[in-house]
Subunit: 256 residues, 2 copies
Amino acid sequence: MSMNVSPAGYEPLLDIAFAHPIRLIASALGPPPADVIDRARAANVKVAALAGTTAHAVKHAEAGADIIVAQGSEAGGHTGEVGTMVLVPEVVDAVSPVPVLAAGGIASGRHMAAAMALGAAGIWTGSVWLTTAEAETEPVVKQKFLAATSSDTVRSRSITGKPARMLRTPWTDEWEREDSPKPLPMPLQPLLVGAALNRINRSATTPGSGAHELATYFVGQVVGSINTVRPADRVVLQIVEEFIDTLTALSGHLDV
Amino acid sequence: MSMNVSPAGYEPLLDIAFAHPIRLIASALGPPPADVIDRARAANVKVAALAGTTAHAVKHAEAGADIIVAQGSEAGGHTGEVGTMVLVPEVVDAVSPVPVLAAGGIASGRHMAAAMALGAAGIWTGSVWLTTAEAETEPVVKQKFLAATSSDTVRSRSITGKPARMLRTPWTDEWEREDSPKPLPMPLQPLLVGAALNRINRSATTPGSGAHELATYFVGQVVGSINTVRPADRVVLQIVEEFIDTLTALSGHLDV
């Protein structure tokens, strides 16, 4: 992760990506670089860019992104402080006519209907897939996600050096302690803790290792509403069905 | 404020409230006390209770609240960490059939449509009124609100001792500094800073006092979308009109 923030780091990855029939490249930290956009244009691939503030969304649009993902603070992983309810309509107004996808706290058809009420053209989801039958999430972490409430996540710099939302565990609690050293900035923190995190995950099923308690992973606040393992195709179907049901119910308010 | 958290403190205030033809009592910190609910029932007054977590919402419903206000982290004033997009549908499912109002980041008809897509029966608004023509907001603070972006608020314990969202200013920055003393717990922090805050607000228009920079007040992240002074009746009308327009546009997705 820490090696890929320069062209020398990401170009070999792009070579692999463009060797496949991809449709989309998404830039999650910062505006998409001009060379990436040029290469995507030439390959007829759309470029998306994630933004946690309206100012960043405007920069991404000016850089030439085809799609802006407005990601509220609720989201898992690297995330800002502005909530989805506030961020999405602000970004929609600021970058129009560039289409905006709503992210952060989105896992159901009700969320999708709300996102589109806010002006989004669609949704961008993450956490909802981490507990699907197909997900490669560590089994110990998957069980923690299923049991977690929406209050059980924290924005922590303890894995990457930048604030990222993850499940709160003794790992994050120790890093948050007043008398603990501060996490190092990206890209140094992953160098510091990467091997330790790999050992924790490998040992998480070993009784008495203590690793079970420490194990964590990136996830958004919507983890609280996901309590069963579902196949991914069922997740898609339920989102679409609930979206239709929600719009049908809402349209009833127009009959006066 | 610090004196009113016991019955001896709040009963004289309730006496005044119930001497008027009120329709609603709202409990903003903690479940409504049984004696308040009994008194409200006897007077045919509804009781609302604000919740920042689903667990608190369930406690409020069990205590007998007629209406739950699910208030996401975006909100101004005392507020939790769970975003409105995640909190509202969780609370709706947890306290059904008790009606839920959505709060936190709500200031427009798009927000209202999104809230009702999430299952809310209606909306609870705060920040949107602070910049109206009728608002008694300090003029200096009102101007700061009009200029602020959604990234310009912070959850700070510096005024009440509990985390409350307010405009970020040098006042909050100083309290956030690593080498500053921590705010005292409620109800001690208001005793410590109340007189100073009053002096700051009184002096905020005095050139060279430095008070202009310090002045702050409770406000939610939605402050970023409010850039003009409007009469309160116009705010209501615009919310309703945009709500209808949004539902009309959404219902178009059902025509396939």
